[in-house]
């Protein structure tokens, strides 16, 4: 996997990295790095390709929005890639309505797209922070006046982690739903506080976040609780090497997180 492995390029060398449909090319010149990021034509791509250095660099075949940037330096230092979660809350909607029976505690597994950060290996100075498919904006809150701007995402809300497809550009989160109320509760949307979550890499290379627990009471408010530490073995089921933390949260957890709503009303 490409994450957190420092690499250096000599003058004139190019590195090409593909993480599913996310493509990144770095050309090292005498006093600069030229970095191109793009979403490739092959949208169904699901593997990671690392060519560091790339013996026969080809220009990226991209669909749209290729992003170019140049970084000038005094002396080149090694670079590394780091996966990160979204920079805003992600509102996840199950593709089909999901009802939670009274008293039930159910774990659902949702995955969200990751951002790729290119940074200096020495002091983590960030060069770029981009994603292949920027999710659509959405609004999460009780009214058009109160709430927050979030990303919208759809999920199949799988109940079995073994059914999850292995996708290197997505991170999986276990959301534990507890229905305390005496009636079935429909789960229309779940707010995933992505900027407040840590990202971990399993031995197999899969990315998981720490677990999240939501208590669906009888009112609209649902306390959100973040599990401390790495994702539980019971969730990802991968024995072997312990998960490695690859990214700290973007934000420190907000105090108000405990009383955030899970279902906005429109």
């Amino acid at each position: 996997m490409p994450w957190l492995e420092p690499f250096a390029l000599d003058e004139g060398q190019t590195a090409t990295v593909h993480v599913a449909s996310f493509a990144l090319q770095i050309l090292r010149r005498a006093r600069e790095w030229r970095v191109t990021t793009a979403t490739t034509n092959d949208l169904a791509a699901s593997e990671v390709v690392l060519k560091i250095p790339d013996p026969a660099p080809q220009p990226l075949a991209f669909t749209q929005d290729a992003h170019h940037a140049r970084f000038a330096f005094d002396h080149a230092s090694p670079l590394q890639l780091r996966p990160r979660l979204a920079d805003r809350t992600v509102v996840v909607r199950p593709a089909d309505p999901l009802f939670l029976m009274p008293g039930a505690t159910v774990d659902i597994y949702v995955s969200t797209i990751i951002w790729v950060v290119l940074e200096l290996a020495s002091d983590n100075t960030q060069l770029i922070d981009r994603t292949a498919h920027r999710p659509s904006d959405t609004w999460f809150g009780p009214s058009t006046r109160v709430g927050e701007l979030a990303y919208a995402s759809r999920t199949s809300a799988r109940l079995d982690p073994h059914e999850l497809p292995h996708r290197p550009n997505r991170a999986t989160t276990r959301i534990r739903l507890v229905n305390d109320s005496p009636a079935p509760r429909s789960l229309e949307r779940v707010m995933l506080p992505a900027p407040e979550l840590e990202l971990w890499q399993l031995a197999s290379g899969m990315l998981w976040t720490q677990g999240v627990e939501l208590a669906l009471g009888s009112d609209e408010e649902a306390p959100v609780r973040l599990d401390p530490g790495p994702p539980a073995l019971a969730d990802h089921g991968e024995a072997g090497a312990a998960p490695v933390r690859v990214s700290p949260p973007r934000l420190l957890a907000r105090k108000s997180l405990l009383v955030r709503a899970i279902s906005a009303i429109f």
Partner: protein
Amino acid sequence: MDHALQSVGGFFTEQRLLDLVRVIVLLVVGFVLARTVPPVVARVVALRGTVNQAQLVRRLLGYTIVVVVVLSALTQLGVDVGVMVGAAGLLTVALGFAAQASTSNLISGVFLMGERAFEVGDQITIAGYTGEVLAIDLMSVKLRTGDNVFVRIPNEMMLKQPFSNLSRFPIRRIDVPLSITRLEDFDRARDILATFADTNPLCLAEPKPTVAFSSYDKTRLELQFSVWVARQNYADLKALLLDAVLDRFRAEGIKLPIGE
């Protein structure tokens, strides 16, 4: 000649010179204070209050220091300030009648500040001008329009007319009226609009975009396409929306009532 010199010399006694130096020192120190103290106080106010409150405190404090310094300098020179204040009172009454417009603006300004319908930095629309609020003063509100023109709106006008604050809420809706000429194009037009809203990341997924059929006559069907967008992306999305939609309509052969 000698006589004149003597009387000038007589005027500048030691005591008078000392007074003059004192007055000059007082004025210099006073004006330095008037320039340095208000910004510091304003910064402290800005930590707790709004930019507008900080600006107001800064101005009032500045004027107060200047008035106090000038009055004490006059006292130092032996001028009877009491008489001047009395005269100023009379003058105020006279000026008040003469300057009704200014007074009205002044009072409107106080109300406007109390109401806090907008703040410095907000985008507002009034009397055909849309711009960013640069300052809310006692007499007028200053705007900078999109084409970088400075506009001064008297406070009285702000109080009497309805105005819109475009920055108050975090999300906004863009309404695009569209007309098509054939009934059979309606479903396809609706699909194109829905796909546009679905695939453009700037269009909010919620509140949901809508395509409503608003009216019709013998020649055309009127539709209204409404999408929600984050306030900061409003101009960007609006600019590309019509362009993209018209392109798709043309590609799909949907007839618009243009040039008919």
